[in-house]
Amino acid sequence: MDGGSAIDDTTLLAAARAGDRGAFAALYRRHAAAVHGLALRVLGDRSAAEDVVQDVFLRALDHVALLRDGDRLAGWLKRSAANACIDLIRRRKPQADPETLDRLVDENADPFDAERLPALLDGLAPATRALLWLFVVEGWTHPELAERFGRSESWSKSIISRALRQLRARLPEEPDA
């Protein structure tokens, strides 16, 4: 199988599960950037992010039967990657207070500036970083975040609210502010 873009994910996944190396490679090339980008933003650790990507793609082979619609594969991969990242963060060590954000804001970090984004995220405590990214960019809800982190919704709301409040203070040009 050549794995061209005309072939839908369901077909590729089924072929990959049957042992088609080309199909698996095509799936990887189609979705790896998005999955890796999410894992890297959430974890801030390239090596850990790549481990997550590898694990997620291999697990996808086992879940082919659960994916009735090939279009859902992209969402499934990202969701699985996010879950894996959260599990990793929870295993690492107790979550620190997100105090570093104050320091970054004081240093005139501009959240609009994509080039500053890695530095901004790198300065965050792991849990804050994950919460902020998943909430702001991936659209997770507080109940979802709370459940996955094994914490309360108020915990999620508190951390994200605080982080956003500090960021908003630096964004006078934000239309909604």
Binding site: A25, L40, E50, L61, K78, F135, H142, S161, L167
Partner: protein
Amino acid sequence: MTTPRLPPAGDPAPNTAPAWADAWRNAAAPEPSAELEARLMAAFDARRDAGRAASTEASRIEVRERRIGPTRPPRWALAFAASAALAAVLVPAFAPAPDTEGVAATPTSADGHAPPASVGDTAADDARIEALVAIDRALLVYREQAAVDGIEAAGETALWQARASVLPAAGADDATRFAPIDPIAL
């Protein structure tokens, strides 16, 4: 990709996604390394090969089971060993008097009885029953397995001999008490 919830105009609610979420989303992230793809494909190959090996083994077992039935451990051997050991312990206790036709001298047929031992002794009778149950179970298992594995009949003969060694004289009550156990009850 899930669309983040942007705040309604004029709503400063702190827990909604800011308008600059798109800037974050569209910020280019570093591409995964080439090593990752190589590592992933190697893992895929290993997994595929393992799957094929497992499939081959499963097929081999399936073919064998189709040919001779499901593979089972030689339960008869264990049962035989257990009952033989039990009989070895009990038989001397039930050994007939020297002037009586001994069990060792009279290997019996399937329904043969050995001369009486210490019939009437409750404890001894209970021990006999226990031994007989063990031996009968062994016989049933042995027969079942023999049909599968094509084992020799010598084992069954030995079991019958052990059974005869334990049996007391046949009486009206004893015939019932010491009758071979019902295979269906096993």
